[in-house]
């Protein structure tokens, strides 16, 4: 089983599982929270990688050099923002159309994963990281 499938399976289990005493909304919220925590871990990895990039590229900390490095990380920052917005939308749809919310989040991740992969960063729990 691939990591992507494992992530989907876990999200599906959290979202649509029928066991336990939690309500459908609580299961949905669990899946959203898990995904948000995963994105936070990825964002921390981006921060650490950008720091190392800046340190290696601009050892003297020249403003122009650092501004250039920062601009190069704008794509990754936008990717994290896209995931955050997708989670926002998923949460907003948690009660009305959770399946659409999950699907939209996974689509957003599919778009973002290659951007992060170029920096050697993947989402925990195997979400799309191949």
């Amino acid at each position: 089983m691939t990591g992507s499938r494992a992530g989907l399976l876990l999200a599906a289990a959290l979202t649509f599982g029928c066991g336990g005493t939690s309500t459908p909304i609580q299961r949905e919220a669990s899946a959203i929270e898990l995904s948000a925590r995963s994105v936070s871990v990825v964002a921390q990895a981006v921060e650490a990688a950008a720091y190392e990039d800046a340190r290696a590229t601009c050892p003297e900390r020249e403003d122009a050099c650092l501004d250039g490095v920062s601009a190069e990380w704008a794509t990754e920052d936008a990717a994290i923002r896209a995931l955050e917005l997708a989670l926002d939308a998923w949460l907003a749809a948690a009660e009305s159309d959770p399946q659409a919310g999950l699907a939209a989040f996974l689509r957003a991740y599919a778009d973002v994963a290659p951007i992060l992969a170029r920096r050697g960063i993947s989402i925990p729990l195997g979400f799309g990281g191949q």
């Binding site: 089983m1 990591g3 494992a6 992530g7 399976l9 876990l10 599906a12 289990a13 959290l14 649509f16 599982g17 029928c18 066991g19 336990g20 939690s22 309500t23 909304i25 609580q26 299961r27 949905e28 919220a29 669990s30 899946a31 959203i32 929270e33 948000a36 925590r37 994105v39 936070s40 964002a43 921390q44 981006v46 921060e47 990688a49 950008a50 720091y51 190392e52 990039d53 800046a54 340190r55 003297e60 900390r61 403003d63 650092l66 490095v69 920062s70 990380w73 704008a74 990754e76 920052d77 994290i80 923002r81 995931l83 955050e84 926002d88 949460l91 948690a94 925990p124 729990l125 195997g126």
Partner: protein, 65 residues
């Protein structure tokens, strides 16, 4: 390696008992669950790439400034 083991364990749990993980989420009600998810989303760092560069820029004042 550790991550792969965790993923494998979660696969087994999720496949064997759908909803198992959610059952242990510990929420008292729907409102609390949604608020917890909201909090997790709000905790996602903003512009982490720029933040990393800024952390290096401010790590100590360059000599002569």
């Amino acid at each position: 390696m550790v991550a792969r083991v965790i993923v494998a364990a979660l696969e087994i749990i999720a496949a064997a008992s759908p909803g198992f993980l959610a059952a242990f989420s510990g929420y008292d009600d729907d409102e609390q669950a949604l608020a917890s998810a909201r909090k997790a989303i709000d905790a996602i760092p903003l512009a982490p790439g720029a933040a990393g560069v800024e952390r290096w820029r401010r790590s100590f004042p360059p000599a002569g400034r």
